[in-house]
Amino acid sequence: MPLPPLDSPQWNSSFRAFLQGVKSVAATILAAVLFATYLGIGALAHDSHFSLLWTLLSTILVWAGPAQIIVITTLGSGATVIQSALAVTVSAVRLFPMVVSVLPLMRTPTTKRWHLILVAHFTAVTLWVECHRFLPQVPRDRRIAFVHGLGFGLLCVTLVANTIGYLLAANLSQTLDAAILLLTPLAFLFSTARNSRELADVAALVLGVLLYPLFALMNSGLDVLLSGVVAGTVAYGIHRARARA
């Protein structure tokens, strides 16, 4: 479904641009990945004993799959609030360069900083990728409205998926519930692997998966954080050694 040409009257109002953004959700394959991921997060939250409201609020307010999974799995397995907060902080650092690189795409000379707050909130890997794809086809002064529509549309997809996943986990047979829970690690492993182009990222992913079980044996209460820092630093070391060679 192509967007209207830049000079089309379709772009005459902000509201229409917003609707174009919402409609564009149907034109992205990433929405399907997002749906599967949030189906899994809904089921994960249910089986970790969080309420449905809690689950939906975490999607609306956090709006970052990795951070939500970290909060649910760490708190669900009895980690302290501090450990969860630290792990989430580190996982969320990647949002900083994403926001920095996405905002110039829609800034105009009259844009105030507060106009961009909601765009910054919606920025996560899916929106970041799609902004680079769609925005060249959107008139600059309508881009903020368009991105609001795109973010809102994606949010609706995830909230529906969350609710379905949560209810399915509560009502399905054990085997199908397990199948939905398995969606989360599978979808995250492969979408992260797909986004890992640098050697450091690939090494971090592989080492992170392999080192966690060893750190879990120590049962320190900081397993995820420690294995992440060690695996990530070793991966960075490999990247440095390669760069020097």
Binding site: A43, L44, S48, S51, W54, S58, L61, A64, P66, A67, I70, V71, L75, G76, S77, S84, A85, V88, V90, A92, V93, L95, F96, P97, V100, L103, P104, R113, T123, D177, A178, A179, L181, L182, L183, L186, L189, F190, T192, A193, R194, S196, A200, L205, L207, G208, V209, L210, Y212, A216, V224, S227, G228, V229, A231, G232, T233, A235, Y236, H239
Partner: protein, 114 residues
């Protein structure tokens, strides 16, 4: 209804452990903007640690599975992930193929060795 809301304490924890530590970075990006080199060495290290933490969480779900996933034997959980990964690589990085293959292996395993 109280099932839907759950316990208010948990919502407060969500704010402290999930929302604030996550949003800090978006708001910093909004405030500081510009002048950050995405290829800088510090950011490469941070991204590697962030990726490894996420990888650790993926492993945690498989090693110490929540709820119904615990009913799947460990061999089958790791096997499903490995099979999905092979499909992912063979299809030149198709997320869909990897997820579907992993799910089929897990469901087939449960079917044949209940």
């Amino acid at each position: 209804m109280s099932d839907f809301i759950g316990d208010w304490h948990a919502l407060l924890i969500l704010l402290v452990a999930g929302v604030i530590p996550n949003q800090i970075w978006r708001m910093l990006g909004l405030w500081l903007g510009g002048g950050i080199d995405e290829g800088s060495e510090l950011l490469i290290w941070v991204r590697a640690v962030a990726t490894a933490i996420l990888a650790g969480v993926i492993a945690q779900i498989l090693v110490q599975p929540p709820g119904a996933l615990a009913s799947v034997p460990p061999v089958l959980r790791y096997g499903a992930l490995a099979a999905g990964f092979v499909a992912f690589v063979l299809t030149r990085r198709s997320i869909f193929a990897g997820v579907v293959c992993g799910e089929i292996v897990m469901l087939a395993g449960k079917w044949w060795f209940p």
